[in-house]
Amino acid sequence: MKILVCISKTPDTTAKITFTDNNTKFAEAGVQFIINPYDEWYSLVRAIELKEADGSTQIHLINVGGADSDPIIRKALALGGDEAIRVNANSQDSFYIASQIAEVAKQNNYDLIFTGKETIDYNGSSIGGMVSELLDMPYVSHATKFSLNGTTATIDREIDGGEEVNEVQLPVVVSCQKGMAEQRIPNMKGIMGARTKPLKVVEPVAVESLTSIVSFELPPPKAGVKLVSADHPEELVRLLHEEAKVI
């Protein structure tokens, strides 16, 4: 079986969010970058588990990004990917990124394509759905569990206010979230091995973007907390009713 795991690079979850160039660019200076948590903890680890269950499984990683993505790709290889492909392009448009991923996928006939539920910077929740449409494959989003029986996948997915169990024949595109797997830490053997695993860099295909970011904004700062004495909690209730008018 061949699995493609989509890996994106995002700022660390504690990174301070500021912008430069007249609020048109995220200020990267001093920011640490990580593998998008959904990609690392859930989709990649679940793919590794599938490989552990069936040794003939191959895991390919794909990232659409510049050379600055290489460290996070190496880390993903250290965790357990077999080889990686980086499409050498920078774009924030989901359609552009999805088209690059689909192009690579078309050449390799994957049985399974995993993405994260969303990137924690752009919050698009879009790439998985777009890739599936480009490849005319079924799509199960927000998966919390995934199991395989031959070529039938049983997938739990989050719905509003609950969960739903889906059964689908491979190939399928799945976006992954909490529940799929438990976070792992790369070990020494993995880190050493990752250095020699193939990381192929390919040039992008020509695709037009459908959207572009004009500018960023930060939310207005909070006015500050209004503290109520612990001896008079009923005063809090009065404020929520009369002043904030939320209850």
């Binding site: 609950g162 689908v168 004009v214 909070k222």
Partner: protein
């Protein structure tokens, strides 16, 4: 040119998030000088003509029973065909579980630029620019859609429902539904609870509550308020509370009118899921807890003493 709003349903009823999407879509149509239609898939028990109250002109109801459960691939085909027939140029979804599954596929199918997680009406003074959430609620991006057709998925609880008077014309068009490759074998819904994604009021607990045996401090208040309950990640990870209650960077992101945080420190990853709430209340015994910086109201105190009193005071206010 017109606006088409996808009205999603659960067990035969149109979801609350869809009323937000309808209100938003009707306003977009007004801005563009056109009309708004709704599209409903599968069996529904609700009176669809009554959706005219949200200023929807027509409801296109595809009643095929194969459409009762979501298959993003099938839904995309049906909505795309409907959009073509109607001549819709702007299509609106709620950015809920279904919206996130369908909108990106439809974007590819129609070559329509997608803005997912929109929080405001489009600015059409110079092109078509929509404000969306980015960086897990820590910032916004203004996104320009350059294609002729456009798709917006609206974040839940970010546009006020606008209900007036009116009757929509209900049309039941015929369509051939492609065969689904996805079989839904079970649906597990939490009955009797308000889904967190739709809740306007949320009471949430953290490790400060010490253990699941103390959760009545959270649930009692939630009950009198008619609020949903949530929790921090370690609480869900320790199985004190079910996983679907976990909010934050790696859990659900919510934006209720009131987020009431009980014994939660307010780590940056927690805030990422709740910082868009309109009013935040924090109860914590540590005056240095980071959550106070993000809060509107707070009490520095022991949750075991404070919470029963708050619940009492709310009961009194509500006369129960």
């Amino acid at each position: 040119m017109s606006v088409l709003i996808f009205l999603d349903q659960s067990e035969g009823h149109i979801k609350k998030n869809s009323f937000e999407a309808a209100s938003y879509g009707a306003k977009v149509a007004e801005l563009l000088g056109t009309t708004a239609d709704g599209i409903v898939l599968g069996n529904v028990n609700d009176d669809l003509a009554a959706l005219g109250a949200y200023r929807l002109k027509r409801i296109h109801h595809f009643k095929n029973p194969e459409l009762n459960n979501l298959d993003a691939q099938v839904f995309t085909n049906v909505i795309a065909e409907a959009a073509e027939r109607i001549g819709a140029t702007v299509i609106i979804f709620s950015n809920n579980a279904d919206g996130k599954a369908i909108a990106p596929r439809l974007s590819v199918k129609l070559k329509a630029g997608l803005v997912s997680g929109a929080v405001a009406l489009p600015d059409i003074s110079n092109g078509f620019v929509v404000k969306k959430n980015v960086f897990s609620g820590k910032a916004f991006a203004n996104v320009s859609v350059t294609t002729e057709k456009k798709i917006i998925s609206l974040n839940p609880n970010s546009y006020k429902i606008n209900k007036g008077e009116g009757i929509a014309e209900v049309i039941e068009p015929e369509i051939t539904v492609p065969v689904s490759k996805v079989k839904v074998t079970a649906v597990n819904k939490i009955v009797g609870e308000i889904p967190l994604s739709e809740a306007e009021l949320v009471v949430s607990g953290g490790r400060g509550l010490k253990g699941p045996e103390n959760w009545n401090l959270v649930t009692d208040l939630a009950k009198v308020l008619g609020a949903a309950t949530a929790c921090s990640r370690p609480v869900a990870d320790s199985d004190w509370r079910p996983h679907h209650e976990h909010v934050g960077q790696t859990g659900l992101a919510i934006a209720p009118n009131l987020y009431f945080a009980v014994g939660i420190s307010g780590a940056i990853q927690h805030l990422a899921g709740v910082n868009r709430s309109k009013v935040i209340v924090v109860i914590n015994k540590d005056p240095e807890a980071p959550f106070f910086k993000a809060a509107d109201y707070g009490i520095v105190g022991d949750v075991f003493e404070v919470m029963p009193k708050i619940t009492e005071a709310v009961k009194k206010l509500k006369g129960v």
